[in-house]
């Protein structure tokens, strides 16, 4: 309703100064709106300041001050406002998406930290005081470690249930917020965007006005020129490729894919054997070191392969690179999880603490390598590029690669929530510092909004779903060890809920909880029905979209027809007559 009112107003005003009758119409429309709508409508008028002031003065005397106080408060709370402005000024909005994504992740993590800390750690701390922190084997017994909790820790507070429900609720909330952001992003950036959005016109219209650095602007203009020329010649070139050249391109692409997949598998296998070796020899730092090294080196190989390959569009090239990197990281993570889930519980008691320690080491090494990579790696490339081999140039800020690293570290956070927060903050500041000193903006003007969608999609699909399944597997199938963790003594972690339900049966008045539990959550039909309903809804929406596309096509044709008719100054009757003659002659 609000949107259509605004459009009516803009349609009814024109660029030049309003004549009296039009002004009257405008005032009448404004008077019919609520106060807030009225202010928004006035703001949205494409008139000069003087005219808007006049309209406002004439239309009403009792405008109230609204939500400005809220938005002013929000402004002061904006994190990193100055830094982001300078980065956007020099590098443009596509690089800014990396930092926007980073900020989003940080907010996400702060929220999860509050949830976890509030429900699990604080009761324990309050009860035990500082006693726990001074025990022997500092890390093993701190509240940061899963292993130290036990159900006997607190009287009257069921630690098992608290832990279980906290994790469950946190995962569900994560999932929901990810799905929601994905849906909103997808709708804005893919559905509404044209398939021809890579065209020259789009490139021209989306000139980045927020770039203020002189050199950056000059560079952007050069890049734009190159891109325009490329897109013009690409369409011409596509038809001119001979069969043999096409075969050659396909061959190169295929071999590169084969090489990269086998590299990924090789790394995963070697990690697995290394884990076995580590347990036997007791050298616990080897595996994290090798994992981080692989994560650093192999993507560079992938970028190298990418330079040799030919893809029809630049976007496909970026996607290929992304898919390979994702595959590498997923395979390494899955091998590690497989190892932890299967081998370690068989080896000894207190497996939760051991897994926790391995994760901690992994996270620590990942963080160290990231810092080293951003400071020294890019600094070295900068030095080599400018002083030793000037042809190479300053390293570009590879947005895709950096975002993938962020997602990877976020995945590790889902396994072991506590160690992430400080590290997150430090690593983000260090990356931004190294960025400003060492890198230049990416050569291709990025599709900022669509990249944001892809990143969130990546975060959700492989990584979140993977983490969720591992956690679910742990809760359902693995037997908690007898000496550590809050679930000690149970068959599996999920039985904590069973025990609670059994207790509830004895309390009158809570029968409904037991009923819901038995008939809804434990029955398979419920989930089947939900899936069916979701599929039906998706099908309906898809059909509606198709119908609308067809409608748009027909309306466009209609516009062309009307214009042709006007051009030739025909009346509708004459137009139909000529059309029939045409059809008659040629049918």
């Amino acid at each position: 309703m609000k949107g259509s009112t605004r459009k009516d107003l803009t349609a009814s005003t024109c660029l030049v100064i309003l004549c009296l009758t039009e002004q009257q119409n405008l005032l009448e429309e404004l008077a019919a709106l609520s106060t807030r709508d009225r202010i928004q409508a006035i703001r949205d008028l494409p008139m000069s300041f003087k005219d808007k002031k006049h309209i406002r003065w004439v239309s009403h005397k009792q405008i109230k001050m609204i939500t400005k106080s809220f938005s002013s408060a929000k402004q002061t709370l904006k994190l990193w406002q100055g830094a982001m402005k300078s980065i956007g000024g020099k590098f443009g909005t596509s690089v800014l998406t990396y930092f926007v994504f980073l900020k989003w992740l940080l907010m996400f993590n702060i929220f999860s930290f509050l949830v976890n800390f509030g429900f699990v750690t604080i009761p324990l701390l309050v009860y035990k005081g500082l006693e726990i922190l001074t025990g022997a084997g500092y890390f093993k017994y701190t509240v940061m470690y899963y292993g130290s909790y036990s159900n006997e820790s607190l009287v009257g507070y069921n630690m098992q249930l608290a832990y279980f429900f906290t994790i469950a609720v946190y995962m569900v909330l994560c999932g929901i917020s990810l799905i929601f952001s994905m849906a909103v992003n997808f709708k804005n950036n893919y559905v509404l965007a044209d398939s021809a959005s890579n065209s020259a016109w789009q490139l021209l219209c989306t000139w980045d006005f927020s770039v203020t650095n002189e050199k950056a602007v000059k560079q952007r203009r050069n890049n734009l020129c190159v891109q325009l020329k490329e897109s013009l010649s690409e369409t011409a070139q596509q038809e001119r490729l001979t069969i043999s050249e096409k075969l050659k391109h396909y061959g190169i692409n295929f071999s590169c894919w084969l090489l990269s997949t086998s590299l990924a598998f090789g790394c995963a296998a070697s990690i697995y054997y290394l884990c076995e070796y580590e347990i036997e020899e007791g050298k616990t730092l080897l595996v994290p070191f090798v994992v981080s090294l692989i994560n650093l080196v192999i993507p560079l190989f992938y970028s190298l392969f990418n330079k040799f390959e030919h893809y029809s569009t630049h976007r496909k090239q970026i996607y290929a690179l992304l898919i390979r990197n994702v595959f590498l990281k997923m395979s390494i993570l899955s091998v590690l999880c497989y190892y932890w889930m299967n081998k370690v519980p068989a080896k000894g008691s207190g497996w939760e603490s051991m897994v926790g320690q391995s994760l901690y080491r992994l996270v620590l090494f990942d963080f160290l390598f990231l810092m080293l990579g951003s400071f020294f790696g890019e600094f070295l490339s900068n030095v080599i590029g400018t002083k030793l081999i000037p042809r190479m140039g300053v390293p570009e800020f590879d947005v895709a690669r950096n975002v993938l690293e962020l997602i990877y570290s976020q995945t590790l956070a889902w396994y072991e929530p506590y160690e992430q927060y400080i590290r997150h903050f430090i690593s983000s500041s260090s990356v931004s510092v190294s960025l400003t000193h060492n890198c230049q903006p990416p050569r291709r003007s990025g599709r900022a909004a669509q990249m944001q969608t892809i990143f969130i999609f990546l975060l959700f699909f492989p990584f979140f779903v993977g983490a969720l399944s591992i956690v679910a597997y742990t809760a359902w199938s693995l037997t908690p060890s007898k000496s550590c963790g809050p679930f000690r003594g149970l068959n599996n972690s999920f039985s904590a809920v069973d025990v609670w339900i059994d207790d509830l049966k004895n309390i009158t008045g809570s029968q409904w909880v037991v009923e819901i539990y038995n008939n809804v959550i434990r029955s398979e039909i419920f989930y089947f029905l939900i899936t069916l309903i979701i599929l039906v809804i998706i099908y309906i929406l898809w059909q509606v979209t198709n119908g609308r596309k067809e409608l748009i096509r027909r309306l466009r044709q209609q516009i062309v027809n009307v214009n042709l008719r006007n051009k030739w100054n025909l009346s509708s009757l004459e137009y139909i007559y000529i059309l029939f003659m045409f059809l008659f002659l040629f049918a």
Binding site: R43, D44, T93, A193, Q202, C205, F209
Partner: protein, 189 residues
């Protein structure tokens, strides 16, 4: 009701907050930056006008390829010389702010790209637009055949009624399908 350089009255401030998309802090910052551009004798005038030569020395506009066009579009002077009063300046910042709507931004973008101010984007406007954005050096310029091809591609894509020019509605239609436009059409002090 005008504004002198020395103070921004509370009433004016609330009025500006309602008429633009800017927040209170942004308006105060704009006022500060604008008064820095004024000469001593202009500071006591009401509704002082800053000529275009001084406006484009602002760091946010200095490197912008459209700086002259932006000043022309937002100027309300009778001589059409691109000079801005404080209220014109606020208008400018409001259209380029974070919270401005797509309609306002696309409207002003159209006016900025319309170099001859005739209400439509014809071939001459498009050619000037491309030259503005690609640079003046000889190797960065597009050749005339490339330019013709580019313009015909653009018209084929955006000219829905096939009259050889892009009018405001067609422009807004194209813009609405570009999700990057709102975030790129931004100037923040």
């Amino acid at each position: 009701m005008g504004t002198t350089a020395s103070q921004l009255s509370k009433e004016s401030l609330s009025e500006y907050q309602e008429l633009t998309f800017l927040t209170k802090q942004e308006i105060l910052l704009a006022h500060k930056r604008f008064t820095e551009l004024l000469e001593k004798h202009e500071k006591e005038q009401i509704d002082a006008r800053v000529p275009i030569g001084r406006i484009i020395t602002l760091p946010e506009l200095k490197s912008n390829p459209f700086k002259e066009r932006i000043c022309q579009v937002f100027s309300t002077s009778e001589q059409k010389d691109g000079s801005l009063t404080f209220e014109d300046f606020l208008d400018l910042l409001s259209a380029f702010s974070d919270s401005a709507t797509l309609e306002i931004k696309s409207h002003y973008a159209f006016r900025i790209f319309d170099f001859d101010d005739d209400g439509t984007l014809d071939c001459a406007d498009l050619e000037k637009l491309v030259n503005c954005l690609t640079g003046e050096t000889n190797d960065a310029k597009l050749s005339s055949t490339e330019m013709k091809q580019l313009i015909s591609n653009i018209l084929e894509e955006s000219d829905i009624d096939k009259d050889g020019t892009v009018n405001l509605s067609e422009f807004q239609h194209v813009i609405s399908r570009s999700p990057d436009f709102v975030s790129s059409f931004k100037i923040v002090l």
